[in-house]
């Protein structure tokens, strides 16, 4: 067993360059596979706008374009801080109120063009 390990070690020393390349490829493949798995399992794939077909949606997404500092968790709670907090709160809630709230009207049979013709009114026996 020890002899075999020594022979293997000598073989590696004689073929250092190919072994290095193969090892690097195995490590890269493994890490890439883990990354892709996390990408799928974590749900990031569902929010990836770089996928084909999402070009128009990219323009609708509002990035973190405002460079205002986050509300500080420390410091005095004076009128300035309260006004700042209320202003930020109002800004966010106004934005949320204007957004799509996943109303099902867009998915009605009429909207999808499925409402033409007779409908099934009783279970089929």
């Amino acid at each position: 067993m020890v002899e075999r390990i020594k022979q293997f070690g000598q073989w590696i020393l004689r073929h250092q360059w190919p072994v290095f390349i193969i090892t690097v490829m195995i490590v890269a493949t493994t890490l890439t596979s883990i990354s892709l798995w996390l990408y799928q399992v974590g749900g990031a794939v569902k929010l990836d706008l770089s996928r084909p077909g999402y070009e128009k949606v990219r323009d609708d997404v509002k990035g973190s374009s405002d460079n205002t500092k986050p509300f500080s968790p420390t410091g005095t709670l004076d009128n300035t801080a309260l006004i700042d907090f209320r202003s930020r709160y109002e800004t966010i809630t106004t934005r949320l109120d204007q957004m799509n709230n996943y109303d099902n009207t867009v998915m009605s049979d009429e909207n999808l063009g499925l409402a033409i013709g007779p409908t099934v009114t009783e279970p089929i026996e």
Partner: protein, 166 residues
């Protein structure tokens, strides 16, 4: 006992066939003819919903950070507000539920788009019903999150009033 078991099995099987069609479902021919256009519209809805989800997620995260920052600041200023802490945690939990429900909704709508609907119109319509249910769940989540935000603000104003601040 065997006869009784066979009767039970027969009832269950008959029931499963009876429920294969959703009540109020359009005519199968109508679905089969119009479903490619319906899938195209669903595809557009899915993409629009993705953008909306990203924007909502960004604003919800910002709101959560604001809540945590305010709670910390109240603590630094020695103002007790356990209700605000509880409300912020409740918002965080509901936000996580919204994220999970969106992932589920996206999976279901993707499976509805994968169905060869001209060959399987009933399966497509059944899947469409599932999409609607999942989307309605998302709508409910946004309503709850909105209520959480309102409750936090109401409680915040009470705390500030009691603390003698403006």
């Amino acid at each position: 006992m065997k006869k009784f078991s066979l009767v039970i099995i027969a009832i269950v099987v008959a029931g499963s066939f009876a429920s294969a069609h959703v009540l109020g479902m359009p005519d199968v021919t109508t679905i089969s003819v119009n479903c490619p256009a319906a899938q195209s519209i669903l595809n557009q809805i899915q993409k629009a919903d993705t953008g909306s989800r990203i924007n909502r997620g960004h604003d919800y995260n910002e709101m959560l950070d604001l809540m945590f920052a305010m709670n910390a600041r109240l603590s630094v200023n020695k103002i007790a507000a356990p209700a605000l802490t509880s409300l912020a945690l409740q918002f965080e939990q509901n936000l996580q539920k919204f994220r999970n429900d969106y992932n589920n909704y996206d999976d279901i709508i993707a499976s509805a788009l994968d169905i060869k609907c001209t060959n399987r119109p009933i399966d497509f319509y059944n899947k469409l019903e599932m999409v609607r249910a999942a989307r309605d769940l998302l709508r409910q989540d946004t309503v709850i999150l909105s209520q959480n935000i309102d409750n936090y603000y109401t409680e915040f104003n009470l705390v500030i009033e009691e603390a003698g601040r403006w």
